[in-house]
């Protein structure tokens, strides 16, 4: 009989968690409660004595100073409604895992198979609510029905002797392992049905390719010799579907695109990826010649560039959109710990140094009915932030840079970008650390977590209902501590030279990781039955493609195997020998000695047919709105500062540890009160050196509504602008692109596919043009191409969005510059040219307009300015520097002033323009490549000398009076506001989130 241990706070101890839940129920659901208290429940399903359970309850499970524990009886009293929320069977329960280990330490005995500890939380609600309201609170706020289940009891219904009835969420109903075979000798219609019903996501052409493969007599003969029929096994079909998936093969970026531009010129583009992304990098590297700092691009889990003679930098950014839409917490957590594995699993292994995160959400204050199955953006916001918080903080990795972009179309699919950087020695045991190669005969070793049904077929909005007793497959929850232990182990194993290659297990699970590693040798022999499972009952194909987290695959030479496994054991990390890498030319899987998959490596990896996608660019007919000049520009400015895309994100930033590892030199929050918005982060990865790395990003989806070409150009410029603002070296910087698109393939579902595909082409063209012009190589990237919501007739497509992340170097972090003004009488300069470019701006959006004059980038012009800025920074001439982006000059002036705690007096007539501009355009135009700099007066001549002959305009000075005062033509006062008021407007919107 399982035990239930309930732990609660003693009388009189403040329940901070309960108070927060009460406040959030009010905010989320508008339900007012008198009080909420919380209790922790551990359901212990194991062979233990009364004394042992009591020792656990009163030992590791309970803090004797503030808590009390009860075994098999309730602690709940003085409530109206009790809601207990626990996990569904098979969902990762990190606390349960730790609780189980704690009992093992206590008793000195290990749990038997099938024994476990499961956690749940009781919420004791007091207030005038009925069960139906409680159901709403449980379903819409406390729990996520996909991964959790709940029990609701009124005070009368709770058994005073026994408490809430025991229910153990153990996975039950184990099926005997079987391997099915699937005949592809069927009609086209049936082929498509096989793909659809099996969630294989293969199109007809791809299915026919499989059909032809098995129909080939040569294939048949070889299969026959292996004891296989002409029908593919489910293991083979799943392996092919994973390997050929959009996610793994990037079929849209690899497609042939038949592109017609606005003038009717037709162009056949053979792979956007090869043409524009790989093409740009090749060109940039060629142009750099001996200065080329790229070490490993596009071929590994992350890109690698040179940091200095002894160290290399690793950088990768991923998206985790669909999982985050389903379960924001688990999705985001998995996103961050997943990208961490990419960083660690690059080359022979690297040490993580920081994370970045960028989210795109609908407004958390969205006040309209949502289509079916969409979570409210407020829940998405809370869950994602908490997931990234746990993922980063618990892993000991500082989150140093990020942003949140709001657009209500992201209600259809939130975008969750998680980035990570790592550092590796340039050489390891005499060889470049960024290179690795599996050798024939190496053992396939899987380390870290066990395999469950987690994430099989990725997270899809499938219509299948999840039912009691069936493990959740759609959602995964990360486990940062298991992963951290694995990383600690792998670092030691790396330095001792115990393996030849490694990679992470992400999408596609073993199928992808072993499939890719086996390309080095040309084959593998993988014994699926040897893989450690979380619970029995997995089918061989499920073992192969499970996306269970916290796993890495390694190639361990036979002579090192014992040492490797012994070290793992000592460090409490699971490691299992699953077979060997071979040169057979075949991807060979066995289960209990029987062959269950035998696929030609060449066919597996190169067999996928190339898609052909039509694209036609027809620019939209847009015009400028012709707004009347507002009477009160002070009011316009404070209104802009309070817009979600501009306002302070401090409440989120503070929840991330941005300083662990003691390397963060320019923090996300800067200025006199530590609350100004930094442009970029400067990080010192080596504690005994002042060399630093700089990271920043650009993202501007609002411009996509006008032209994705300029959206892309602006994102690149914004990323670089932020980067140079803090002192990043413009000659040692790499880029990383993450495309998030709506489905660009013309079909009944997507009648505007040709337009969306053309938008994609144009963004890629800009990517090539500007990376080459700026001399910035791309080192890695990712695309996520199906960010649409479609149920019934409702379709929501996200605006095409590219996150352009940059990473580079600063010679000496002591030369880094922050954005806040430093002292009165400093001179304020505006670098760059201001144009009538309000199209897609925050100012227009505030007035419900789009416009058409989207900002355009002149890369040569910008590059010259950035180089000069670097020179001025190196000479110590720059007191502060802030980039101009959303909200233009007005917002930048305000932020710079209130962050520094001083006023600024500025004269708009000094601003460099290419044509006469109205005051509102001068203030709020989002023209690119502009920076606002303050300079100590004694350095004026030196500073101006660096910028001689450029658009460097002295527009004002820093004042002591704490006001932002902006004048226009004839000395007319346009803005006169107290900086405290501006700051208040900027801080208010998201302060309480």
């Amino acid at each position: 009989m399982p035990w239930r241990i309930v732990v609660g706070l003693k009388d009189g101890v403040r329940d901070a968690r309960g108070e927060r839940v009460r406040a959030e129920i009010r905010r989320h659901l508008g339900i007012e409660l008198e009080s909420v208290r919380t209790l922790d429940v551990y359901t212990v399903d194991a062979e233990l004595t009364d004394d042992e359970v009591a020792a656990a309850a009163n030992g590791p499970f309970c803090d004797p100073i503030i808590q009390q524990a009860a075994v098999n009886q309730p602690l709940a009293e003085d409530f109206d409604i009790l809601i207990e929320v626990g996990f569904r069977p098979g969902v990762t329960d990190n606390v349960g895992r730790t609780a189980r280990e704690a009992i093992q330490y206590l008793t000195g005995r290990s749990f038997a198979d099938g024994e476990g500890v499961y956690t749940s939380t009781q919420y004791l609600l007091k207030g005038a609510i009925d069960k139906q309201a409680a159901e709403t609170i449980a379903g819409d706020f406390l729990a996520n029905g996909l991964i959790q289940r709940w029990t609701i009891l009124t005070a009368d219904e709770l058994d005073p002797a026994k408490g809430v009835p025991v229910s153990v969420p153990r996975v039950v109903g184990s099926a005997e392992p079987t391997v099915r075979t699937i005949s592809l000798d069927v009609s086209d219609e049936q082929l498509l049905a096989i793909s659809r019903d099996g969630m294989l996501a293969l199109n007809l052409e791809e299915m026919k390719k499989l059909q032809a493969y098995v129909a080939d007599p040569a294939t048949r003969e070889k299969r026959c010799a292996r004891g296989l029929s002409a029908e593919l096994t489910d293991v083979e079909l799943e392996a092919l579907a994973q390997t050929w998936s959009e996610h793994c093969k990037h079929k849209i970026f690899s497609a042939k695109i038949d592109y017609t531009d606005e003038n009717g010129n037709r162009q056949l583009i053979d792979s956007l990826f090869k043409t524009y992304i790989v093409g740009a990098t090749a060109r940039v590297r060629e142009n750099m010649g001996e200065r080329d700092f790229c070490l490993s691009v596009f071929k590994d889990n992350a890109g690698v560039i040179r940091f200095n003679d002894d160290w290399s930098l690793v950088f990768k950014v991923e998206t985790h959109n669909s999982p985050s839409a389903l379960d924001p917490y688990g999705g985001a957590l998995t996103g961050i710990v997943g990208v961490n594995r990419d960083g660690v699993g690059t080359g022979m292994g690297a040490r993580l140094i920081f994370n970045t995160d960028v989210f795109c959400f609908a407004s958390p204050f969205l006040d309209k009915p949502l289509p079916k199955r969409l979570l409210h953006p407020r829940r998405i916001f809370d869950g994602v932030v908490e997931g990234v918080e746990h993922g980063g903080n618990k892993s000991g990795i500082p989150t140093v840079n990020g942003s949140i972009v709001f657009d209500d179309r992201f209600a259809g699919k939130p975008l969750v970008y998680c980035g990570t950087a790592a550092i590796m020695p340039a050489e390891l045991n005499g060889r470049p650390c960024h290179e690795k190669a599996v050798q024939v005969g190496d053992h396939i070793v899987m380390t870290g977590g066990r395999i469950g049904k987690d994430g099989i077929h990725g997270a899809t909005f499938s219509s299948e209902e999840l039912h009691e007793g069936s493990p959740v497959t759609a959602v995964q929850i990360g486990d940062p501590i298991t992963q951290r232990k694995m990383f600690d182990f792998l670092t030691i194993a790396r330095d001792r030279g115990l393996y030849n290659s490694m990679t992470d297990n992400g999408a596609g699970g073993l199928s992808s990781s072993i499939g890719e590693m086996a390309e080095d040798t040309g084959g593998c022999e993988l014994h699926l039955d040897r893989a450690p499972l979380k619970y029995p009952g997995l089918q061989p194909w499920e073992i192969l493609i499970s996306e269970a987290q916290e796993r890495m695959s390694l190639a361990v030479p036979p002579e090192k195997l014992d040492e490797f496994l012994q070290l793992a054991k000592e460090m409490d990390v699971e490691a299992t020998d699953l077979g060997t890498f071979t040169d057979s030319g075949y991807f060979h899987c066995l289960y209990r000695g029987e062959t269950v998959a035998w696929l030609d490596m060449e066919f597996l990896h190169q067999g996928v047919p190339q898609m052909v996608i039509p694209a036609r660019w027809t620019p939209k007919t847009l015009r400028e709105p012709g707004l009347a000049l507002p009477q009160d520009l002070s009011l316009e400015l404070s209104g802009l500062l309070a817009r979600l895309n501009i306002c302070s994100k401090e409440s989120v930033i503070r929840r991330y540890d941005h300083e662990v590892q003691a390397g963060t030199v320019i923090k996300p929050l800067v200025g006199v009160a530590n609350d100004g918005p930094s442009d970029a982060a400067v990080f010192r990865p080596l504690l005994d050196s002042f060399e630093g790395t700089v990271v920043s990003h650009g993202i501007c989806p609002s411009y996509s509504d006008i032209d994705t070409y300029h959206m892309m150009a602006c994102a690149i410029d914004e990323g670089l602008r932020n980067y140079v603002a803090v002192g990043g070296d413009i000659e040692h910087v790499a880029g990383l692109d993450n495309f998030c698109w709506c489905d660009p393939v013309q079909s009944d579902k997507t009648p505007d596919g040709e337009y969306k595909a053309a938008q994609l082409v144009r963004a890629n063209q800009a990517l090539y043009d500007y990376c080459v012009a700026f001399g910035v190589p791309l080192i890695s990237g990712k695309d996520s191409m199906k960010n649409d919501y479609q149920i019934g007739d409702t379709r929501i497509s996200i605006p095409p969005t590219v996150l352009f992340s940059v990473i580079g170097r600063i010679e000496d972090v002591r030369r880094a510059v922050s954005m806040d003004v430093k002292r009165p009488d400093d001179l304020v300069y505006l670098l760059g040219m201001t144009r009538d470019e309000l199209g897609g701006s925050e100012y227009y959006a505030a007035h419900g307009e789009l416009g058409c004059n989207v900002p355009k980038v002149d890369a040569g012009y910008a590059l010259d300015l950035y180089k000069r800025l670097n020179r001025a920074q190196r000479q110590g001439l720059v007191a502060s520097c802030h980039d101009l982006s959303d909200g233009g000059l007005g917002v930048a002036l305000a932020e710079k002033a209130f962050a520094g705690g001083f006023g600024i007096r500025a004269d708009l007539t000094a601003v460099r323009t290419d044509a006469p501009l109205r005051d509102d355009a001068l203030l709020f135009s989002e023209s690119q490549s502009r920076l606002l700099v303050s300079v100590h007066p004694e350095l004026r001549d030196d500073f101006e000398a660096v910028f001689a002959g450029t658009d460097c305009a002295l527009i004002g000075e820093v004042t002591e009076d704490g006001r932002l005062e902006v004048t226009g033509a004839g000395g007319r006062v346009l803005i006169d506001s107290r900086i405290e008021d501006l700051k208040q407007a900027w801080q208010a919107p998201l302060r309480e989130l």
Partner: protein, 275 residues
């Protein structure tokens, strides 16, 4: 030649700050500052007895899944050292009895309090008498705090220091003594050398200067000997000018960060009184 000062920083199972703590020990003059994975201690290959200065660094031991440092404390108390009858906790008690130094930062402080190593009145280093629990705000926060120093504290780490400025980065940092009598003895014995304070270094109960609602604004606690010390703020996070959040606007800041002072005091104490 003076004998060398040997510092150890325990790593593993979710400890995160071991590298910067070891760096701080080195900067402070420790000749040895070893980062040792707990597996090495449990395997018996490394022994605490060979060191003078034990550092329990920040992090999330076992994810803080059962409450901060609870599962970690349970492991130290119950895990055996291989091929011996000894628990790691026995080595630790011997280390304390030998008059050596132990400093716990953040999760390390939580660990010390929950194992009973702090405040450890009446020579009892094995019974928990106080705790660190959820911040009043209910959330993890990263922010810099001013800390007033009690000049009359026996704490060897804060000797002679004026107020200091350090970051906190925690969700469970609210110090709660088991009862009023304990608080009274902490106060009268000057066992709370650090308190959250205003910028003028006056102790405060007001958020955010007091970031978690700690009773009596207590940010750090020592044992009556002053050799065992734990604090929620991170001294290893401020050992150089560029760690300070406003270093770009305060040119008068000294090169050396205020957090380093704590480590220097520790090394000096060891050199003069222990080694």
């Amino acid at each position: 030649m003076a004998k060398e000062i040997r510092a150890i920083v325990i790593a593993g199972n979710g400890t995160n700050c071991e590298r910067e703590v070891a760096h701080a020990c080195r900067l402070a003059g420790a000749e040895v500052a070893d980062i040792v994975h707990i597996a090495e201690l449990l395997a018996g290959r490394v022994r605490l007895d060979d060191y003078h200065f034990l550092n329990l660094a920040g992090g999330f031991l076992d994810g803080d899944d059962l409450g901060s440092a609870k599962a970690g404390a349970n492991r130290l108390l119950h895990a055996r050292v291989a091929d011996s009858e000894e628990h790691l906790a026995d080595q630790l008690q011997r280390f304390v009895a030998d008059g050596k130094l132990v400093m716990g930062v953040c999760n390390g402080f939580q660990l010390m309090v929950k194992m009973g190593l702090l405040p450890a009145l009446d020579g009892n280093y094995q019974q928990q008498t106080a705790t660190l629990t959820f911040n009043d705000g209910g959330r993890f926060e990263d922010r810099w705090t001013y800390l007033a120093v009690d000049p009359d504290s026996p704490c060897v780490y804060t000797r002679g220091l004026p107020g200091i400025y350090l970051p906190v980065r925690h969700g469970e940092g609210k110090f709660v003594p088991g009862d009023d009598a304990l608080l009274e003895r902490i106060e009268s014995g000057h066992l709370a050398p650090l308190r959250y304070a205003t910028a003028a270094y006056q102790p405060t109960m007001t958020y955010p200067e007091n970031p978690n609602g700690s009773v009596a604004a207590i940010a750090g606690v020592c044992d009556p000997s002053g050799r065992l010390f734990g604090l929620m703020p991170h001294p290893e996070a401020y050992v150089h000018r560029t760690h300070h959040p406003r270093w770009t606007r305060e040119p008068e800041l000294p090169e050396e960060g205020m957090g380093l002072w704590l480590y220097r005091n520790a090394v000096e104490f060891l050199r003069s009184e222990v080694v």
